[in-house]
């Protein structure tokens, strides 16, 4: 049988990096084929090559045995290649049906598309209301819109880019059922992920990428996490040393925090209670879009609308205090967006230290530039940031290095409470291990730490206590060593003991994620 898709020696060079270096792989009809690799290994570039969004510099693509040149996504779709994007390519103010319609090349009517959505939804258990605007849908529902859009093109190959990062563990199982049904019907699936468990549970074959090159093609069902991980990373990261926490005073106390959302795209916070004590790491788990960014903004002081008395730092009410006041009281925050929030992209690293570090400001607000540059140079050295120097623009750094710089900037300020959002998003494994190590070291020195992450593995690795956010509410805390993935997964849909009744209109788990409209 001819293979559905064959890649031979695909190479794509960018000015600074070779994203794909002679990559070859083969996907059979009906096969679920994983592409495994850590961030920056070249997975996304490879998928864009297949989907026609990026043109390779060298190499050959065979489609059902025939050499083809895929020049743009339209041509890819015409061949029968469909893609579900990691960051959804949806239009918020349009309805689900309109979104699907825009992804179809044929000139069917909107009414016909609406009909077909209902049909496909029934066939594959992808429950989608075609007439609802996308901004009112939960993340899980949005993904289903993307998948339905892909399926309506009747694809022979479906590409999914990190599809599970936005789902609860239970929703992941449902997605897998859908994919298995599809594969059984003959559709090949390219499944891009860096999650080992999922690949072993779902996929028939697995191509591992490291640094843009193929480091192996294996049957994941016969591999272990450790063996896959070695192929992906090259070496196993050092295990983190953990000591028993020595608890101190309550550093952060959030009591009955309610905060109405800023606009229809946001989430309203309701009755949030949270304690973080000195000497412990508390993790906040949850599917994205359930109020984590809103809570972070209220704690960091970027949003000062919190009612008086609802947020206390070392016993002092800071609900309305500015970020600067909170910082002086020992609260430092590392946001999830590095470029544009944690750092100004076009300013130098030296200038970027001034965002949160004020030691170089002299009389009359005059800056001592040499001190500013010295601090940046020191941070670059101490935290092993790869950068040309203190004058390098923040945007010239890789995501991981910039994160190390920002983390370093805040750690070096000796915070009494460190709040970190998505500490290792888009960071390679080595840097991620460094960052997690720094977080634990700070904890052992007696600081209080609050971490928000969408990666459950990470939270289980570094936290002492876990809470879960869903629909703008917060679960009770649970000792991490006593928690299980299943339990936290159920909580991520808002179903923890003592939680209010699930919303009437939302019987399924994924429905429980979305905010009221």
């Amino acid at each position: 049988m001819t293979s559905r898709l064959t890649l031979k020696g695909i190479t794509k060079r960018y000015p600074a990096v070779i994203a794909n270096d002679g990559v070859s792989l083969e996907v059979a009809p009906g096969e679920i084929h994983a592409v495994l690799g850590e961030n920056g290994a070249g997975k996304s570039t490879l998928m864009k090559v297949i989907y026609g969004a990026v043109r390779p510099d060298e190499g050959e693509i065979l489609w059902n045995g025939q050499p083809v040149s895929v020049r743009n996504p339209h041509e890819a779709r015409a061949l029968g290649i469909a893609m579900v994007f990691q960051h959804f390519s949806l239009f918020d103010t349009l309805t689900a049906a309109e979104n699907v319609w825009l992804g179809l090349d044929t000139s069917t009517t909107l009414a016909a598309v609406t009909q077909r959505i209902r049909a496909v939804a029934g066939e594959y258990g992808l429950d989608v209301d075609p007439l609802r605007p996308v901004h009112s849908l939960s993340v899980g529902e949005r993904q289903r819109v993307e998948i339905v859009r892909a399926l309506l093109t009747k694809p022979q190959l479906l590409i999914l880019d990190e599809p599970t990062s936005v789902l609860t563990p239970q929703a992941v199982q449902k997605l897998f059922d859908t994919l298995r049904t599809l594969a059984a019907a003959g559709c090949s699936i390219l499944y891009i992920s860096h999650k080992l468990d999922e690949i072993r549970a779902l996929c028939h074959k697995c191509t591992v990428l490291r640094g843009g090159r193929v480091t192996g093609e294996v049957d994941p069902r016969t591999e272990t996490n450790a063996s896959l991980s070695r192929r992906m990373i090259g070496a196993e990261p050092a295990r983190l040393e953990r000591h028993q926490p020595t608890l101190g005073d309550v550093a952060l106390k959030v009591t009955g925090l309610r905060l109405p959302r800023l606009d229809q795209f946001g989430v309203t916070l309701e009755d949030i209670d949270l304690d973080v004590r000195a000497g412990e790491v508390v993790g906040i788990a949850g599917v994205s879009g359930n109020g984590q960014p809103e809570l972070m903004a209220a704690i960091s002081g970027e949003d000062t609308r919190a009612p008086a008395g609802s947020i206390a730092l070392f016993g002092a009410d800071i609900a309305a205090a500015s970020p600067g006041v909170r910082r002086r009281a020992g609260l430092h925050f590392v946001p999830e967006e590095r470029l544009g929030r944690g750092a100004v992209p076009t300013l130098s690293l030296a200038q970027n230290t001034l965002l949160t570090r004020t030691a170089s400001i002299g009389r009359l607000g005059l800056l001592r530039l040499s001190a500013v540059v010295q601090l940046a140079a020191y941070l670059i050295r101490k935290y092993r940031v790869k950068a040309k120097g203190p004058d390098a623009a923040a945007k010239s750094l890789s995501g991981g290095n910039l994160q190390k710089f920002i983390m370093g900037r805040e750690l070096d300020a000796n915070p009494r409470l460190l709040v970190v959002s998505q500490p290792t998003w888009g960071v390679d494994v080595g840097a991620a291990a460094d960052i997690r190590g720094e977080i634990l070291r700070l904890r052992d020195e007696g600081a209080a730490i609050l971490v928000v992450s969408e990666e459950l593995d990470e939270l289980f690795e570094i936290t002492d206590r876990l809470v879960v956010m869903a629909r703008g509410r917060m679960s009770p805390g649970v000792n991490t060593s006593l928690a299980t993935v299943e339990q936290v997964g159920i909580w991520m849909s808002g179903l923890w003991p003592g939680a209010g009744p699930p919303p009437v209109a939302a019987p399924t788990i994924e429905h429980a994620e979305h905010a009221d409209v």
């Binding site: 070859s24 946001p335 967006e337 944690g342 001034l354 965002l355 607000g365 530039l369 945007k395």
Partner: protein, 374 residues
């Protein structure tokens, strides 16, 4: 064919060269324009770039016109750096003239010489009031500062017109729409006897220094810039966006107002409907061409001032409409914006279309299959 490729970091060299390229392009278009109109391009260039600096009188006139441009552009640079789009400096200039003129009208030949200071302060106040309206509306009602500040130019224009046609009209002025000629005590002291240049030039140059320190050496200046470049980062750092907005608008309004007061109490000596000469709009171009940098602004204001004088000379010498100045000003900003692309992008030339289409797929013989199969 070519395509643009983002540079990892903005090019400092291009940042300096881009205004030079822009001026060169504007000159080329100017030469072409003169040729089309049947004028000798050399005569044209001579009128614009040599004539104004040939004589002491010319240099003095150059300074007279560059002074308000520098003042207004300094303020606008602060605004644009903080991403506040105040494009109504012309209106703030007019209000400065009205406030300053209002004080000057009431001065007499026996007034204390310090009335000049009062006039200038009143002018600044006037500009700040006008910019303050923009700030209040943006702060309270999120109203676009672009449209409001621009609309206020028309309102200011009408206000001035009302005053000089109405309550402030010179009773002995043969019904001309103009105020009385101000008492000599209100005259901004001249720099050199016999020339129109006054100490406004020194004020402007001193302020260039002040703004340089403010923008590059103070925490407040840094905060404003962060607010302009990355609002989310400013919020994260705790820099108040409201304070930045108010500061930027009041500073630029005050500077435009100061320029207006200097103009009426200096070269003009009375209020007329012709006080607004477009300095407020030209200063936008001055600010951008000067790279929002105080020293760059001095250079670009000098250039722009040459355009003004050259335009007047072109009218008398070459029989061209004076509005040729406006054409060059607009062209210069256009050319600058296009050249600025080179600061953040570099141009890559690609091969022909056909080669591009064929490029992705190289024959299989050139490719060695890598990686095992199992």
């Amino acid at each position: 064919m070519f395509r643009l490729e983002a540079r990892p970091e903005p090019s400092r060299l291009m940042s300096v060269l881009s205004p030079v390229f822009a001026v060169a392009i504007t000159l080329l278009v100017g030469v072409a324009l003169f040729s089309i109109l049947g004028k000798d391009p050399l005569d044209g260039l001579f009128v614009f770039f040599v004539e104004p600096v040939k004589t002491a009188y010319g240099l003095s006139e150059l300074a007279v016109k560059a002074t308000p441009l520098v003042l207004i552009a300094l303020g606008l640079a602060v605004c644009f750096r903080s991403n506040i789009w105040n494009i109504g400096a012309e209106g703030q200039f007019i209000l400065g003239a009205i406030f300053g003129g209002g004080v000057a009208i009431h001065a007499t030949e026996t007034s204390n010489k310090l009335v000049v200071v009062l006039i200038l302060l009143a002018g600044m106040l006037g500009g700040m009031v006008w910019a303050g309206v923009v700030a209040v509306l943006r702060d309270r009602f999120h109203t676009s500062e672009i449209l409001v500040s621009l609309m206020l130019v028309y309102v200011a224009d009408m206000l001035l017109s009302y005053l000089v046609y109405g309550p402030w009209k010179d009773p002995n002025g043969y019904n001309f729409p103009q105020s009385i000629t101000f008492a000599s005590t209100t005259q901004i002291p001249k720099l050199i006897a016999g020339y129109r240049t006054d100490i406004g030039v020194l004020v402007a140059l001193a302020l260039v220094g002040v703004f340089w320190v403010f923008v590059f050496r103070t925490y407040a200046g840094f905060q404003l810039q962060v607010g302009g470049l990355a609002p989310a980062a400013a919020r994260y750092a705790g820099f108040s966006a409201r304070r930045a907005m108010w500061t930027a608008l009041l500073v630029s309004g005050g500077m435009a107002g100061l320029a207006g007061a200097l103009e009426v109490a200096g070269p003009l000596g009375q209020l007329t409907p012709y006080v607004p000469a477009g300095y407020g709009f030209a200063a936008i171009i001055v600010a951008f061409v000067g790279r929002l940098h105080p020293v760059g602004i001095v250079l670009s204001a000098t250039l722009m001032s040459m355009f003004y004088i050259g335009g007047e000379l072109a009218q008398s010498r070459l029989g061209l409409p004076k509005s040729v100045t406006g054409v060059f000003q607009g062209l210069l900003l256009f050319a600058l914006l296009a050249c600025d692309t080179l600061v953040t992008y570099r141009v890559r030339f690609t091969r022909t279309r056909a080669a591009r289409a064929g490029a992705p797929l190289v024959g299989a013989e050139a490719v060695k299959s890598e990686g095992g199969t199992g």
